[in-house]
Symmetry: C2
């Protein structure tokens, strides 16, 4: 049932690193972690990331210049399966203390943004929602 196309060797390596990490990673950090696997240049990382993001398996966090594996890969959303649990726009809550990221989505927000866009005849291609702050564990 999975619509995941087979990943290439480099894509698999990058995705594995992201999946094993509990915090976002920069492209250069990923590169360092993959030197033993034969990676030598940033482009090898960026090219793999581009594809993973295009497939919806990874996300870029704009406010951090770094990357995470999709937390909802291969999950359907609210009964609809669009491939990789592709649910409208994804939002991120990023703890500035511990670095942990919480990925979620909210149809009400999607609708609201879609409504704004429709009114103005603006055609959305990609939407970024990132909340930076402190998670419960770090507020003490």
């Amino acid at each position: 049932m999975s619509t995941t196309p087979n990943l290439t060797k480099n894509q698999t390596l990058v995705l594995d690193v992201l999946t094993r990490s509990d915090a976002p990673l920069s492209a250069y950090t990923i590169l360092d972690k993959l030197r033993d696997s034969g990676f030598r240049a940033p482009l090898q990382v960026y090219r793999a990331l581009d594809k993973l993001i295009e497939m919806g398996i990874a996300h870029r966090l704009e406010s951090l210049n770094s990357f995470v594996a999709c937390a909802h890969a291969n999950q359907s959303c609210c009964g609809h399966d669009h491939g990789h649990g592709h649910h409208g726009t994804v939002a991120f809550a990023i703890c500035e203390s511990c670095g942990q990221v919480n990925e979620f989505h909210d149809h009400a927000i999607d609708d609201r943004l879609a409504g704004w866009a429709k009114e103005r005849k603006f055609k959305p291609a990609k939407t970024t929602i990132e909340i930076r702050g402190l998670c419960e564990a770090c507020m003490h």
Copy 2:
């Protein structure tokens, strides 16, 4: 009634450049535009930008690594005046063809994000909402 503190010389210069531009500018582009005014180093721009953003007079567009003047400076929002028209979170619609940016805010979205945060005891510090796409004029 304005709560704007007096801006320093460098802050004024940077804000003027942003205000005159009809599209976001990168820090280095601002630097180039201010060489004749005596600017020599990126830090002069970044320091001014930091203050302007702190005051809410300018915004950073995370997905573009660039900056705009606040479109709502000195305006109150829905009857409430919090200084610089400080209304919850601001969202941006960015046209990837012409570069124009539309700044807006939506209380329903604010409420929704605040609700999510409250449920998880997450304390938001700064929220980024950016829609990239095509504006009406560029869709033809």
